[in-house]
Symmetry: D2
Subunit: 484 residues, 4 copies
């Protein structure tokens, strides 16, 4: 669906939390489609809304992309139409909106004067409206509202005034503000680049003699490849027949600001980002929680599945035994209950507390965040019903208060419980004996060895880069609505 | 899939034989989506590859489009997302290529400096390559290879240099060569226009106080509406709040050339086009066949379902009784036979001759065309096995020899039997006692009362308009392939 | 779903109007599954609710059966699990009830003391309740309410007390009352038999050296086989390694009563049943309609598709030209209209009148039957709106008044318009200038050369065999309900 | 598909590892279908092959059952056809064979002289062939090869010679040998019973005033109900309008033999069976592993997801820190790799080791069993590649050597690695530094407080009950094959 008039709501750009991957194949015996498929499966946690692969087979671009998860979108039949090209890029997309907007699925292939390029991006362009207005003024024609389309158009535009795709990308990076970790499949090269703040991850690896670029390092490992390094904030990496080239024209002197929420929740624990293992960061979050909240308890457990690691850290730091507090039904479930019972019923059938492990104990339970508070309330109740004598809930991040403009989709601000209640009130609401959030200082420490700066904007309101100008947004949107 | 490098093969533009529809709703109690849905169902014979509807609801454009037939693509759930806008356009698409190219499904919505437009078109642009090259040189960026995208871009481009969408369309019509019967949904108007040769049909009707534009008049009837008139070759019709406006700037003095194959095969018999009933034209084809081939026979029958009407005409003219010669299995069938038997088995199970009607008779059997000859051969054999003592096959059109550049998809030229054999040879090949094609003179007479000229290019090689420059095509395609 | 308590409503036996087929393969180069598949496709008109094939491969029985039409149920993958056995039977099923009762899909395979049999049947057992009660009293256990299950149980029961499957079937035929044309796949033989009244068709054919048994002869033709003869009412035919054997123990001296509605509507026109071509019977119906209603008109047309043949006959007899009066949309359609418009809208978009053929003419239009009258009303209106000056509707059968107990599913009696109105009233209701039904005398003449007696029970109320005892039904059903 | 001739292979009875549930509703405000649906979702781990629900609504039995998991099989539409009856039973089924045998899906509803019953069972009847032969000799007719069908027939048979369903079930229990935990929905009562050895679990609970019977207690908890007690081995429980009645006629003096593998692997950790918490049993398994294998290591981890709990136990007993060793991709995955790489690739993309947690450490890793050894080999390799300096694999059960005849499906005996190699050889094969299985003595201790005896037949070859007579099997099967 085309929903352009809703542009005043930033979340309608459909671009948040994605996974990207690219390969430049130098080995005869590798299958670029198979590798990209496996890589997207490994990046599935970054987006379940749609998936796509574009292959450049001798200059001809073929794409399979569709709404759905990797195992639904691809099959042997449609993948066999792609051919084992030397360059392939892939994308998994997340969107909160239950949109059917197929035009925004990626990779996006465009064709212009200088040939074709395919683009797959993760992030959010903050000067989207300004740039789009500028391009439209110059006569550009758009077919969706996606960041990727805008980025491709900017690059194509710059390419017409410079002598190489590389230079065009460098120029485009100067114009594009906000967050982007992007791969591009050109006529004869694979390009990867990251905004100068480095909000989202992107790294390089090698499988045999072939190069890959991936949102996260975990898939390079599981593909049997070798992790080389992160692409630096502001860096562009180009891979062609002659090997890997690095362009650092856009590496400014300004501070970098990698998203802390990647360490807290988004990234897979087996990834290493900016020199810091995500798993270690979460272990540390557990340790720091103990430092801030040294609770006297009999067992520490995590909310499945993300809380396990923080609980492991808290257990190590405190000496309190780690225990499984819950059983989660691993099958895909729905509920046929109607009305207000629906949510409750679904929670109830998906998660149960392990009475035999919990009964009579003082329990510390760790989760990564609280959104609306419903799940936390349910978890406390489960533990109490299972016989826990005390329930202390700890959260491995500070309260989520501010919107993210750099690629994380946060549901309606007003539904965030931390915007309506104090920590004490939330504690009462969810029925816990105590509730503790990790402090902003501590959350920085979980990745203190990172070789980049960190963005805590959603916790502090102090963002790592300029946020979009709301007034401009509104004016532009009004103009669009009035025009006929 | 993006298959741009195949552009040297004209058939890859995916644009042939389509149906278009548009409505500008002035009645509160009409539902523009429901009407467009029913209209597309009525135009289904013009394209079964994909279907789509775009609705302009207060300036916001929403689209549902997908690969499949009307009853597969639309359902109450996805249609309910469209809203009962005042303007809606719809499209059914046919392509020979078994392409999964979703990017070419229509309507196509674009957004540019002056707002949004949705386009749905039937036909084929003959200067596609020149125009596209020109636009690309100017910096335009394309996302598919469809005529509709090119047309939308040309219109948008012109709109930036003129004061109204109407003027932009008029200018675009001057640049676009070839065949196009097109509807456009603008921010506040519905526009329909037809190329100056008038290759494809397009007409206007009224349902209550609301205007509709349709590829064929039959759907206006079945919607309970009133047929007003054809849009003239070169005419643009604009419908807005103030009613219907006609612009005739592009009506040249040159001769018009409506596609004869629309009368012979494509259009539905209950449509009236250019003042001539399609059904009457086919009755006349039967009568003219008798005039050219006054065979002494006991029964005249048609090949289901299209041959019935011509047989009715031959029967009337000759006095020979009309009879059903065949039974056609009306259920969707496949065959599980393998190898070379496959086609034979499928024909055999789909069609059987009516022994009791055919036995001992001299039979005239009428079909609309012969493509590869396989079906005709089967039909003659069926009649002989059923006891026909003579089988005379008549074809209600001249031999199909030349490719069509104006919107009819003809399979590979070399597979056309009339390109390899004389009529006598074909007669022997299919095993008939005699074989007669309608002469080119006669095929013109089936629509002799039409208020337009007629194109017989696929029979005569003398096209109603300039055909694309092959040499240019090849050069352009080579350039694309070499560029990296 | 198991719905046994609804047994008081006869229509819940789910057995009406089916198609059956069997093959005993003697040729190495034939594929019994492929032939059965093609045969079921050719018999699809007799049932679209479910389809199934059972193959006996060296004594091992394998079945694929599912709800859906032939092309939906079978695919290369599931058919490949069947193996090219020497004996195969197939079934297509029709039911009015929108039942999900998979347990009633056929063929049904049972396993008992003496081995396995698969059964596929067309018809309706009138002493179903008596026999089932008797078997249950003896300890039998049922898993559905189908006639086929009951028949299989009776045969298995008899088999335990006699020395061969043949003798068991002969004994079972003596116990089973009503209508049944049935094929059985035994451990080493294919058996076909028909109730002594011969209500439903069943015939034998030969493909090369292999024998087939089929509901209708048309599929034997389209399979390239040779029609041998009908199985006689009361006859059982057994095919085994030694060839074809006929058993005529159950051929009584009583009168036979083949269903006239098979000639009027059910059977395919290219079948020959009881020595009479179905197509000829319908031609004759048209001729007899002219004899009874010699209307002075300008054109005679048929309601698509079944009315064409009768119109052909009327045209021949009267000298009035045959013409196509309508165009029927051949694509699968649904309507998204809501409420009372729904049916009207569906009719309107599926069928349109051919104005150019109808305008200004006095039209005779022929259909096979009137059920609720809605369609006829629509047809008359379409013709009038298209400019017909007179509309005379003729029906090629007498008014449908009485329920059928022998295998034809007739919707709720009270919804039959002929039960509520006289012919004059119906004529007024549908808006025709005149309305004529074929008389009961005449409908007998359409198949007067048949070598069997004919049943006109649904027209006359005088059935060809004893109908079920309603009082018994009610008592039995009540007993079932009270029992706990 | 009917595959009766394969009966000599026990695994073709399609009956292994299932979940059953039943409800007798006494509360107006409960929805018996909704509760059964949620219960089956909670029992999904016991079977993913098919799911079904039968509801007795005023004496009328309706069933929805189909191949697939709970969320695929049921939807609001088909569940709405069932009605909120007072009695409902449900079933989830597991089979190793990729069979399409719909006839074996449960619940199975049969109808006989005394009314209808629906049956849902978990287990395996060891005298299946003898009983079936006996019934067939007496004239019984079967439509599948399922235990459930046989059990229903035996009960129905007994019911004809006794005065109540209760007595019939008691008599049937005397005839049925082997393992069965079964629920039956009768005309007016819900019955649950368990074979006298008590191989499989079955328990009673209460939701408000309504009674439920379930394979496992965990679903009673998650439904907000109250666990009452296990049904005893040999006990039959009947629930009707007057409440709950217990019949203990079949409780013999012989020893009971509950399946140890239920504690080790099958049951959900949040269930309590025979008075022993499954979770506690697994914690104890971890503790006992430490007692048998007191390894000096730096970290103990579990193979996801089942190994976590045993690792927790080992960590507690040893003081070695518990750690997450792996990340498991939680999305449904397939692989498009071909040939021998397929399995390897799938494992690789599904599971990765957590380098940051494992590097440089001596690791103990715990799993529940080793089947073919492929997965264990992969796990050891993953840990080594992640930098583990020592890898010690512990298995929380003894080697799996003997087939199970009582309801657990074990793949082909020859593929079990423990049948081909000693523990030392397996250790070398999988590349571990050491490998330890829990001893048979210890595995008994994990449930030493259970109020029943325990079966370790698959480990020791000493079964808890008589196993089927293979010679009889073979003779019977041969007879079936020869009979025609």
């Amino acid at each position: 669906m085309q929903k352009y008039v809703d542009i005043d709501s930033k979340l309608d750009k459909f671009n948040d939390e994605c996974g990207v991957f690219g390969i430049f194949r130098n080995d005869e015996d590798l299958d670029s489609v198979e590798i990209t498929y496996d890589a997207l499966y490994g990046l599935q946690h970054r987006g379940q809304e749609s998936a796509g692969i574009t292959v450049n087979c001798g200059g001809s671009f073929s794409t399979v992309k569709e709404t759905g998860i990797v195992s639904e979108v691809f099959n042997e039949k449609n993948l066999s139409t792609l051919g084992n090209g030397r360059i392939a890029v892939g994308h998994v997309r997340y969107t909160s909106s239950k949109s059917l907007d197929r035009a925004s699925n990626q990779p996006l292939v465009i064709r212009y004067r200088e040939g074709s390029i395919a683009i797959a991006s993760n992030g959010s362009i903050t000067n989207f409206c300004e740039l789009r207005k500028e391009l439209e003024s110059g006569g550009s024609i758009f077919q969706s509202n996606s960041d990727a389309e805008l980025m491709a158009y900017i690059i194509a535009f710059e390419r017409c005034f410079t002598d190489s795709l590389e230079n065009a990308v460098i120029k485009a990076m100067n114009r594009l503000k906000g967050a982007y970790s992007t791969v591009i499949c050109g006529p004869s090269r694979l390009i990867g680049f990251r905004d100068r703040h480095g909000f989202r991850p992107l790294c390089i690896g090698k499988i045999k003699n072939s190069y890959v670029i991936s949102s996260e390092s975990c898939v390079i490992d599981s593909l049997g490849g070798e992790f080389i390094r992160d692409i630096l904030p502001g860096e562009m990496v180009v891979i062609d027949d002659e090997g890997l080239h690095s362009y650092t024209d856009n590496i400014g002197s300004g501070k970098t600001s990698f998203c802390l929420f990647e360490y807290v929740y988004i990234a897979r624990p087996d990834s290493v980002i900016n020199g810091v293992s995500v798993h270690s960061a979460r272990i540390k979050a557990g340790e720091l929680l103990f430092k801030e909240y040294p609770i006297d308890a009999d067992m520490v457990c995590g909310v499945p599945d993300s809380g396990f690691v923080m609980a492991e850290g808290y257990a190590k730091a405190s000496g309190i035994p780690f225990g499984m507090g819950f059983v989660k039904n691993k099958y895909i479930g729905r509920t046929i209950a109607k009305g207000k019972d629906k949510m409750h019923r679904l929670l109830q059938t998906r998660l149960t507390a392990l009475k035999s492990n919990v009964e009579g104990k003082r329990v510390v339970v760790i989760d990564d965040s609280i959104v609306r508070g419903e799940t936390s309330k349910h978890i406390v109740r489960l533990l109490r019903e299972a016989g826990a004598v005390e329930v202390h809930m700890l959260i491995s991040s500070p309260p989520f208060i501010y919107p993210c403009y750099f690629g994380v989709d946060i549901s309606d601000k007003s539904s965030l419980i931390a915007n309506r209640m104090t920590t004490e009130e939330i504690c009462r609401e969810i029925g816990a004996d105590s509730l503790g959030y990790l402090s902003i200082d501590s959350v920085h420490k979980i990745a203190e060895n990172a070789n980049v700066g960190l963005c805590d904007g959603c916790y502090s309101g102090l963002y790592g880069a300029k946020i979009p100008d709301k007034i401009f947004f509104d004016k532009y949107a009004r103009k669009i609505k009035n025009k006929t």
